[in-house]
């Protein structure tokens, strides 16, 4: 197991290197010289040349790439044009907001999709199954940003039940510890802040999680249906186990591998979905930061974020692989 993981970890190194190359090439292809972008129009040609020399822009492309990658490996992603701070600091400040939103969305998706999927599979072609299938189709066809807007229209605009933007009401949250408002308020036993954080989370998490509900529900259904055909199910039933126990204890455990795979794959969709949902709900996370960076042509920030998102996705997939062995002890590497 450990040897397998080390091998996989080493295997991701060339992939990550190629990713940095691709991002670097995109950066090179961007119209406009970073030097002229950064300096004011009145700067003399000599000053521009001096700046280019200072930033290494006069070096050959491969030297620039080498420099780009050596600094990136050490976590130094350069300085943001827009925020005049190191990119890594800007990202670190926004990371908890995205983590909180993504976690909430996954919780919503799993809590809805797995029971629905198992229920539908246990009674194929019943009304429950039809409802579940319909909901699954609804989930995968729904653009998350439109769902977000509709949720705002309904729950914030019409019924005034939930807030439509941001992470907290001004002045309610206590001092930041982890940056995850939900966790912070729990740690500080600050109940009004906890309620406030949950209320703010609800709509964005629903908007972000719904696509995943659709896909996860479909996979759960088909995977459970497959597992129900196995012989151990017959044995379990013959032993006289209650059907509920057969389905939830015996079948679901065995049906879990495809479900976990899809959760892993969908995390990527969740990461990119969060970019849009954060924009809709003015959620101060990495997604809205990326859009701010793009609008401001803040190339170091955009590059840093793209690299970080991708590295996170690669690592998540690795973690999912490692999980297989835990779920199914028969799997040995």
């Amino acid at each position: 197991m450990a040897a397998y993981l080390v091998r996989r970890l080493l295997g991701t190194v060339p992939v990550l290197l190629l990713i940095t190359l691709l991002v670097f090439l995109l950066l090179q292809a961007a119209p406009g010289d970073p030097a002229s972008l950064l300096l004011s129009d009145e700067t003399s040609a000599a000053d521009v040349a001096e700046a280019r020399r200072r930033w290494g822009l006069d070096q050959p492309v491969h030297v620039q790439y080498l420099k780009f990658i050596t600094t990136a490996v050490t976590g130094d992603l350069g300085k943001s044009f827009r925020f005049a701070q190191p990119v890594s600091e800007v990202i670190a400040a926004r990371l908890p907001a995205t983590l909180e939103l993504a976690t909430a969305a996954i919780v919503v998706a799993i809590a809805l999709a797995i029971p629905l999927g198992v229920w539908a599979a246990a009674r194929p072609n019943s009304w429950v199954d039809n409802l579940g299938t319909g909901f699954g189709l609804f989930g995968i066809s729904m653009p998350n940003f439109w769902l977000g807007i509709m949720l705002i229209l309904l729950f914030a605009g019409q019924f005034h039940l939930l807030p439509s933007a941001g992470r907290s009401t001004y002045g309610v949250a206590g001092p930041e510890q982890t940056g995850l408002y939900f966790l912070d308020s729990l740690l500080q036993q600050n109940w009004p802040a906890l309620k406030d954080a949950l209320l703010h989370l609800t709509l964005p998490a629903l908007a972000l999680g719904t696509n995943m509900v659709g896909i996860l529900m479909r996979v759960t259904r088909s995977s459970v249906l497959d597992a129900l055909q196995e012989e151990y199910v017959v044995t379990a039933r013959a032993k006289g186990l209650a059907e509920r126990r057969v389905v939830w204890r015996h079948v679901l455990r065995n049906a879990l591998i495809p479900i976990v795979t899809v959760v892993g794959l969908e995390l990527g969709a969740l990461l990119s979905g969060s970019i849009i949902v954060e924009t809709v709900f003015a959620w101060p996370g990495l997604g809205s930061l990326l859009i701010t960076g793009i609008t401001a042509r803040d190339y170091p920030l955009v590059t840093g974020l793209v690299l970080m998102y991708t590295a996170a996705f690669v690592i998540i997939n690795l973690a999912i692989d490692a999980l297989y062995g835990v779920i199914d002890p028969r799997i040995r590497y």
Partner: protein, 287 residues
């Protein structure tokens, strides 16, 4: 072909999918192609005295209301359908061509070609979906060409993976061995014997790619990274509408509904196609 296959033996559930999906897609194609003929107004004409007019339903001048510049929402949705269809269609065809070609080469030739293509797949696949598209548009700038490029960048992979797997299986079948023994060239075997056998599967992949391309295009336009703002698209309409959400609900409702119904129709049709043509794909889901 699909209609012929869809005879009386189709189960009721499949029939609903075929009819509902087919109807929506047919409607979309009609609206897309006949756009200028059926749109009641010019989508870009501003009537500053008639801004933010609520929908009048079946009476009055603006069925689905007007936007903040007094432009007719229905006409903009109709014109938006053209852009969505055009972009999605181009993306599906180009990525299909690239993906199927690379998939067949990868599966049939194996060796170094396979290694290189699979490495490329691995790298492109390592990007969270949409992020690569966002990065491409962020660095290369907006525009129709860049938009299509950005959407193709990851969409060919799905074809490539499925086709490679199928090619690997086909390669070992007797009819291919027989053709090889007859002295057929690799190119001939690929074009005449392998490709015809993977068309059906690619069609199913293509249907789902179309649905995802429409959502992706709308998402990018919503973020302001899609086509230039003067071209009406469902995504940009939603982005504009979001600002007026508290006063003009119709601006956010109708363009989104258009996206949702379109994607739903294509997904229904894709589901039905998959069930009819290739039940083995069922587990792959419509990701």
């Amino acid at each position: 072909m699909v209609e012929r296959a869809g005879g009386a033996w189709l189960p009721a559930r499949l029939r609903i999918k075929v009819f509902a999906g087919g109807f929506i897609v047919f409607l979309l194609l009609v609206v897309g192609t006949l756009g200028p003929l059926i749109a009641p107004h010019d989508p870009n004409v501003q009537q500053l005295r008639a801004t933010l007019k609520a929908p009048t339903w079946f009476t009055g001048n603006h069925l689905l209301g007007t936007d903040n510049l007094g432009r007719d929402v229905l006409s903009r949705i109709i014109y938006g359908a053209r852009v969505s269809l055009l972009v999605a269609f181009a993306v599906v065809v180009i990525s299909g061509f690239v993906g199927v070609s690379l998939g067949v080469i990868s599966g049939y030739l194996g060796g170094k070609a396979d290694f290189a293509i699979q490495k490329l797949v691995e790298v492109m696949w390592a990007f969270p979906p949409l992020l690569l598209a966002i990065a491409i548009l962020a660095f290369l700038g907006q525009g129709l060409f860049n938009l299509i490029l950005a959407l193709v960048a990851q969409r060919w992979i799905q074809y490539c993976r499925v086709v490679r797997g199928q090619t690997l299986a086909l390669k070992n079948r007797d009819f291919v061995a027989a053709t090889q023994a007859l002295g057929a060239s690799k190119a001939r075997i690929i074009c005449r014997h392998i490709v015809p056998n993977i068309v059906q599967t690619s069609l199913v992949v293509g249907t789902f790619a179309m649905a995802s391309a429409i959502i992706a295009e709308a998402s990018l336009s919503f973020l302001g990274l899609g086509v230039p703002p003067e071209i009406p698209t469902w995504g940009t309409m939603l982005a504009d509408g979001r600002i007026y959400i508290s006063t003009a609900w119709w601006l956010a409702l109708f363009p989104g509904l258009a996206i949702f119904l379109t994607v739903l129709g294509i997904n229904l049709l894709g589901d039905a196609l998959r069930d009819m043509l290739d039940p083995r794909l069922k587990r792959a889901g419509s990701v």
